[in-house]
């Protein structure tokens, strides 16, 4: 193809791209092996994806009114100049720049209507592809041509699809005669990319092609090698490809994208123009100039500057706000910490009060059972703790397995339904009763101790004993809150809170274990005498004498009467 001027050259290329399907019918019939295929038909998308021998892929997709090949996105094209005008004149009706565009390799080349002739033809092809494998499939795809009924946009798109199928499945390379001025369309997709995706390059083309003569050899989307014994008579234009020159070029060398290598002995009689390209090696002779054709990017630069300015402003505002917040905090800080601490202490006291009330109810209704649990805690704290820990670990497994065991039988199903909520409730109650029992023991210990502020705790009143014990168990939490009023004692506060937590957990474990050991206060293995009135012990406690000694002195009969007598005599 002879080229008279740049716009005509581009127009020629575009026409080549837009050739109807019939123009490709002369390609070699030999087909490549389809290694794997995927045919996909969805609500908005229908697609054919092929993996060919040699690792090549081909994907043609109709999606949301667009056609894509190999999912290569081109996007919008906004260009100026004669080339762009020529492109628009040719494809203005076929290419929609907005929604509903039809694309090849995600490159817009037209549009299709869902359910229209093109869509139907494509789906018919897909239907064939589902049933065929490898050879037959490849042949069917190569043989496919756009239906004659297609016109306008649809015909163009169909031609592009047909071309993509032919190209991928026959792998027919474009032949170029290096000795003659020619246009070589190495890869149509490259041209599409060039024209549609890279707006800047379209503008570059105008500048780069300025003054290019009629005898230019143009290579698009393909690498060029000019051997040592080769001569290109006119200009050499390489678009979207690399050039390696060892021989001679009679005119200019224009590179749009890619890299140029001038090896030793090479001669370029004209200039070298690099449009978004680079000169990788220059060991040859360039008689003209080396000109870099660049796109100015004022808009991009401005956008960057705007973004930078916005980010800086945003950061400054953020920092100013943070400083103001810090000042506010510093002014109310001391009051805030005191208020928080007082709130914490009140919270502790309310907790103790609530637990005390629950304890009263437990003592009222539990009575002797609580005594047995408390006695077990006192006599076997280690065993209780171990059983409590084991019980805690086994809670969930027992809950689940119990449910499964119950649900096996029809009779058990209603019980299983009740089991699900009742078991956790029972476990919580057991832990609570155990904790209160521990608190009662703690209260008794405090009553016996000589510690200050404990005189109000009287062992004769179980409720007061338990409340005193609760206060003892939670005193660490109270202390932590009190300490938090003072500045710089955060560490001590944390330490006290952790210690309080440990004490609480230990009390819960021991108490829960004691509840389990005593089967809820019914077994007295570890608290044989608990909850039973012992006149001897009461007498000993009241009179501070050893009953056995008195019995020995007064004889074996009616020890209590003797004791009373002895005491009266005294």
């Amino acid at each position: 193809m002879l080229v008279s001027r740049p716009a005509d050259l581009a127009l020629g290329l575009l026409l080549a791209l837009a050739l109807p399907a019939s123009a490709y019918a002369q390609l070699p019939a030999q087909t490549r092996t389809v290694v794997s295929k995927e045919v996909s038909v969805g609500r908005t998308e229908s697609a054919l994806r092929l993996e060919l021998d040699g690792g090549d892929d081909l994907a043609i997709t109709f999606d949301d009114g667009s056609v894509r090949v190999n999912d290569e996105s081109v996007g919008s094209f906004v260009v100026g100049g004669a080339l762009d005008v020529a492109w628009r004149e040719l494809l203005a009706q076929a290419v929609a720049l907005d929604d509903g565009s039809v694309r090849v390799n995600d490159e817009s080349v037209g549009s299709f209507v869902v359910g229209g002739a093109l869509d139907v033809a494509w789906r018919e092809l897909l239907a064939q592809a589902v049933a065929l494998d490898d050879g037959p499939l490849a042949s069917a795809l190569v043989d496919w041509t756009a239906p004659a009924a297609l016109t306008g946009d649809a015909a163009v798109v169909a031609g592009a699809i047909d071309q993509a199928l032919e190209g991928a499945l026959t792998g027919a390379p474009a032949q170029v005669n290096a000795a003659e001025p020619s246009v070589s369309l190495g890869d149509t997709r490259s041209l599409m990319r060039l024209l549609l995706n890279r707006d800047g390059r379209l503008a570059l083309l105008d500048d780069a092609f300025e003054g290019i003569d009629d005898a230019a050899r143009v290579e698009i989307g393909a690498d060029v090698v000019i051997g040592a014994d080769e001569t290109v008579e006119g200009d050499l234009v390489v678009i979207e490809g690399d050039a390696r020159i060892e021989g001679e070029v009679g005119g200019d060398v224009v590179m749009v994208g890619g890299t140029l290598e001038l090896l030793e002995g090479s001669v370029v009689e004209g200039s070298v123009r690099l449009a978004d390209a680079r000169l990788l090696r220059n060991q040859g002779e360039i008689e003209g100039d080396v000109v870099e054709v660049r796109n100015e990017e004022p808009v991009l630069g401005e956008v960057r500057e705007d973004i930078r300015r916005e980010v800086v402003d945003e950061l400054r505002a953020e920092i100013r706000q943070e400083i103001r917040r810090g000042e506010d905090r510093s002014m109310v800080g001391p009051f805030r910490s005191v208020a928080s601490a007082v709130g914490g202490v009140l919270e502790n006291l309310v907790t103790i009060l609530i637990l005390g009330l629950i304890g009263a109810a437990v003592i009222a209704f539990g009575g002797e059972k609580v005594d047995v649990i408390a006695e077990t805690v006192r006599r076997a704290p280690g065993r209780s703790a171990a059983v409590g820990a084991a019980g805690t670990i086994l809670l969930i497994p027992v809950w689940v397995l119990g449910f499964v065991a119950l649900v096996v039988s029809i009779v058990g199903i209603p019980v299983a339904i009740a089991w699900l909520p009742l078991f956790p409730i029972a476990a919580c109650l057991a832990a609570l009763v155990g904790y209160l029992s521990v608190a009662r023991n703690a209260g008794e210990w405090l009553a016996d101790s000589d510690l200050p502020w404990t005189q109000w705790i009287r062992k004769s009143n179980s409720l007061i004993t338990m409340t005193g014990g609760l206060l003892g168990l939670m005193v660490l939490f109270v202390a932590a809150n009190v300490v938090s009023m003072a500045p710089f004692l955060g560490f001590l506060r944390g330490l006290l809170a952790v210690a309080g937590f440990v004490v609480t957990v230990a009390a819960l474990q021991i108490g829960f274990g004691a509840v389990i050991l005593t089967r809820g206060g019914r077994r007295r293995d570890y608290a044989r005498d608990a909850g039973r009135y012992s006149p001897d012990e009461a007498w000993e406690a009241a009179m501070k004498v050893e009953v056995d000694d008195v019995v020995e002195e007064s004889g074996p009969n009616d020890s209590k009467a003797s004791n009373r007598k002895e005491t009266g005599d005294a």
Binding site: V34, V39, S40, D133, V404
Partner: protein, 279 residues
Amino acid sequence: MRNAILATVSMLSMAALLPAEATAQLRTVSMSRQLEDEDEVRVQVQYGAGEFSVRAMDAGLLYRMSLEYDEDRYEPVAEYEDHTLRVGIESIRNGFGRRSRDGGRLDLELARGVPMDLDLEFGAVQADVDLGGLALTGLELSTGASQSTIDVSEPSTASMEVARFEVGAAEFVARRLGNLNAARIEVDAGVGSITLWLDGEWREDSRVGIDMGLGSLELRVPEGLGLELRKDSFLTSLDSEGLVKRGDVYQSLDWDEAARRVTVDLDAAFGSVKVVWIR
């Protein structure tokens, strides 16, 4: 087994709590790959919900898969790399939501005679799997709340050490297990009804390990096959027709004379076990 029970209970609870699914938009996909010089392939199949089938084929393909699925919720998977084929669907949406059980379908055909380590994993599906004709060197089948029928209609041309079936809450039927040509078959069942047909061509004496949680197990045994049942169970009834108890084990009457023997190690809790002899 316990895990299976827990998983099943959780799954059923979740399913009961979740809202109903809107009508699914189904997408159809057909995929295939040429059979090359594969010495052995590992095939991993993953399918969540719907109908599922597997067959052997002679089309010169490694696999051929036909899929229908909810395109708003899933995406197809077909990867082949390092002699490993991964096919099925994957969820593309996180969060809660009842999985669509209607309409989805996966039909998979695998190359006959190619040594294959097969890993099938499916959830709430209605599975119809025929492994006959496949040259299985390994088999792992894992299913959730499904209604699954596994058949080995033809003897496997390869042998395997262990075939594993992990069944959640399911109605699971496996036929002609002898054709698997496995030295050991392991079944881990959670809740449901399990029927194992021990017919087919047993090429060597084998062991079948069954770990069953809650449900019923039916062993269908062809006459002439020596069966030994070792039972470790809790609250499990045994209908041991045709078996005699010798020590701690139950043996078929012809155990000593049988040409092929299968030993079943049964670990079961809550359920029933029934042995049915077939002619």
